[in-house]
């Protein structure tokens, strides 16, 4: 039972990763692509971590998994901000509907 629930959450994470990649390919500029990558992948990883935590054998394993998720959240939000900031500094104009 626990294995089924765990596997369900791990599989639930996959469409989020997939949509992150679809976004990376389809979206028009650096800023919009950052949206797809950070948000979708964070939640995708969240579900995979949740699925693995359900199947974990000890509480320390659970804590370690969630610590990994927290660190990835922190790192991806920060690097997303830094990439967007660097793009603005280099005067990369955001894609807009009007100019397309």
């Amino acid at each position: 039972m626990i294995d089924i629930v765990g596997t369900f959450f791990v599989i639930l994470g996959i469409p989020f990763f997939l949509s992150g990649t679809i976004g990376l390919l389809r979206l028009p500029d650096i800023y919009t692509r950052l949206h797809a990558l950070t948000k979708a992948d964070n939640v995708g990883l969240g579900f995979i971590i949740l699925g693995l935590a359900i199947q974990a054998t000890s509480w320390f394993e659970v804590a370690k998994l969630f610590l990994i998720w927290f660190l990835v959240l922190l790192a991806s939000a920060t690097s997303c901000h830094l990439v967007a900031d660097a793009a603005l500094r280099h005067n990369i104009k955001p894609w807009t509907k009007e100019r397309a």
């Binding site: 028009p28 964070n42 320390f60 967007a84 900031d85 603005l88």
Partner: protein, 174 residues
């Protein structure tokens, strides 16, 4: 400034215990809870605590743990919503986006809160933070039709509540 030096002392003892507790928990998580690992762990934990106390900003406002616990479900649900939002937009045949930059004037007056706000904006539906200065945050949105300013205003209010009021914390120092 009620009995300044005593307040200062108790603040530092509390800071020490908090940090020592957090670093010990981290060590035990890394080692899978094996207590004999503390033979190496205790010196490392002590060193980390000392280093963190040296590097920590004295002016950093204190976070209220209970408020943080209340903030977490809100944050979790919002980031889930943001991922679903991105998924719908990028998978739609016509790519439902109307992106643009928006400037938000900040009212939070400390660095820690500003950075937390910027990071949360990035994980919120439709927005990422692109530049952070003393009093303005520049946000990139996937959809200019969203009430971005109102959404960030709400988030900023929630984040301000995470911090203890100024007077209640480092009053004894300056």
């Amino acid at each position: 400034m009620i009995s300044g030096s005593r307040f200062y002392m108790s603040y530092h003892v509390a800071a020490l215990i908090w940090r020592f507790g957090i670093f010990s928990s981290l060590w035990l998580i890394f080692c899978g809870g094996k207590l004999d690992s503390l033979l190496v762990g205790l010196p490392v934990i002590s060193a980390a605590t000392w280093l963190h106390l040296c590097l920590a900003e004295d002016k950093a406002p204190r976070i209220r743990p209970l408020m943080l616990v209340r903030f977490m479900p809100f944050f979790g649900l919002r980031s889930l919503a943001s991922a679903v939002d991105v998924m719908m937009r990028v998978c739609h045949p016509r790519l439902l986006i109307n992106p643009g930059l928006i400037e938000y004037p900040l009212t939070i007056d400390h660095e820690s809160g500003r950075v937390l706000l910027a990071n949360c904006i990035t994980l919120l539906p439709g927005t990422i933070s692109a530049r952070l200065t003393q009093d303005v945050i520049i946000v990139h949105t996937l959809d200019k039709g969203l009430p971005v300013l109102a959404i960030i205003g709400d988030l900023e209010a929630r984040i301000s509540k995470l911090y203890a009021p100024r007077s209640a914390n480092m009053g004894g120092l300056s």
